[in-house]
């Protein structure tokens, strides 16, 4: 492992920490190393930007297929509910 990796993390570790960061708080050292790595690594800057976009899409995603008609499904569900009665 080169000196620069010890100080600044490798890109592999940096992208791994970016993933972990979306789910839990990182320790101080990890946080500082990640911050510094992204400051100096243009490739990981691109990765970070796209990763944030993907995170947003994964949270918000919807898939509306205009050709899919939900009327039949609605009727099926209502029949099932009525069939169960209000007991």
């Amino acid at each position: 492992m080169s000196l620069i990796n010890t100080l600044l993390l490798s890109c592999r570790k940096a992208t791994y920490l970016m993933e972990r960061r979306t789910m839990e708080a990182l320790g101080t050292l990890d946080r500082m190393q990640l911050w510094t790595h992204v400051r100096v690594c243009a490739v990981c800057q691109v990765y970070a930007k796209q990763n944030a976009q993907i995170e947003e899409l994964l949270e918000m995603r919807e898939r509306t297929d205009a050709t899919v008609d939900t009327t039949l499904l609605e009727q099926r569900i209502i029949s099932a509910i009525v069939g169960k009665g209000s007991a």
Binding site: M1, S2, N5, L9, S10, C11, R12, K13, T15, Y16, E19, R20, T22, M23, E24, V43, V46, Y47, Q50, N51, Q53, I54, L57, L58, E59, M60, R61, E62, R63, T64, D65, V68, T70, L73, E74, R76, I77, I78, A80, I81, V82, K84, S86
Partner: protein
């Protein structure tokens, strides 16, 4: 056809009856389907889970009693149904954990290999959401089944890693590694698809 009052939001009480419930079905089915369909790669499974959601809501209507909005209530049930599906999927030994297509993106020092360096998505600022959702959905479908399940759990369980690891029977480190690999693959797949799209 029954006479429905589809335009007004029904008032929810512990006396929620079949008429009010039917109105909720008419109001929310499409919304729930489009949400679930984006998270599952199977249309009939989507419809099945939406139906189960309403039936569970109907059975549990006494507990609901207007404490949250019907929307929050229904989406909460649906999220649990989808998470349940992926939990079972993940624990099913027949599901694939890896595949031959996974490539190494870093050299032995952990730096990006030339051919795998992320480059700007030409379409990123201008592409409309529909295209991005579509590309994402298709890329998610290419993930090995267990990776897909691991990724989906992250958003269904509000990023609660502890709960997810417990449900999937994984160590935290193993879970991070898996979604890290899945994310690398997803990002790369999206880049390729968006480049093709913009050409």
């Amino acid at each position: 056809m029954r006479n429905e009052h589809t335009t007004t939001t029904p008032i929810l009480t512990d006396q929620l009856g079949t008429a009010e419930m039917s109105a909720l079905v008419k109001q929310y089915t499409r919304m729930l389907v489009s949400y679930a369909r984006a998270r599952l790669n199977d249309h009939s499974l989507t419809e099945d889970l939406v139906q189960q959601t309403f039936l569970a809501a109907w059975e549990g209507r006494a507990r609901f009693a207007g404490e949250s909005s019907p929307r929050t209530w229904l989406f909460g049930i649906l999220n649990n149904k989808i998470a349940d599906h992926y939990r079972k999927h993940y624990r099913d030994p027949r599901m694939t954990l890896t595949d031959g297509q996974d490539v190494e993106r870093f050299d032995s020092d952990g730096h990006w290999l030339n051919e795998h360096r992320p480059t700007d998505w030409q379409a990123d600022e201008t592409a409309d959401k529909e295209i991005m959702f579509d590309v994402l959905a298709r890329c998610l479908d290419t993930l090995p089944e267990k990776w897909r399940a691991a990724v989906e759990m992250k958003y269904l369980k509000q990023r609660d890693a502890k709960a997810i690891c417990q449900e999937l029977g994984l160590s935290a480190t193993h879970y991070w590694q898996q979604i890290h690999r899945a994310k690398l693959r997803l990002r790369s797949c999206m880049g390729t698809a968006l480049r093709q799209h913009s050409q």
